[in-house]
Assembly symmetry: C2
Homo-oligomer: 103 residues x 2
């Protein structure tokens, strides 16, 4: 593997290209949401959602907030770093609008 491609870009893609990551962030752009909301909104399995949210937290893109209610309520929201992906996702959205046909 040469080093022809920018390592920051490759790092970014290694995050974004993991299955579900982009959809999770896209979903959280609507506002903070809880585990089961994200799960049912995008159709990801609990096992993988749990994994991804931990990864995204570790990357500083998602924040996890515990509300001590009963039953416990946990909210996931985007940090600035997470939120700043919005323009990129919007570009993908507008590409999709132009080039993907409705099935």
């Amino acid at each position: 593997m040469d080093q022809t491609i920018c390592p920051k870009f490759e790092k970014a893609l290694s995050i974004m290209n993991k299955r579900w990551t982009s959809l999770i962030i896209f979903q959280l752009l609507e506002g903070s949401q809880r585990f089961c909301e994200i799960e049912s909104a995008i159709g990801v399995s609990g096992r993988v959602l749990s994994e991804r949210l931990k990864d995204l937290e570790k990357e500083g893109m998602v924040k996890r907030t515990v509300h001590d209610e009963t039953p416990v309520r946990i909210e996931y929201s985007l940090t600035d770093k997470g939120h700043s992906l919005k323009p990129a996702l919007n570009q993908i959205q507008s590409w999709a609008d132009q080039w993907i046909e409705a099935e």
Copy 2:
């Protein structure tokens, strides 16, 4: 799985989120290239590169051209549809520049 998210967007992500797809397109934005050039530039295995190029051809994003030389030379290039992903990839690039730290 609800249908809260735009199906075109989901389709777009199902293409882009496959491992290597974005890097392959990014690489081809530099100009048409042959199999082994892409392979060594981004470090993808031949097995997967072959699979991805077929997918991208089927999606109308990549064009495969055979030059009858010896040994045979095959060039892969972007179609308009493939090329039009450039703004999205540029957005990811600039996000990476801002938010990813050099290791």
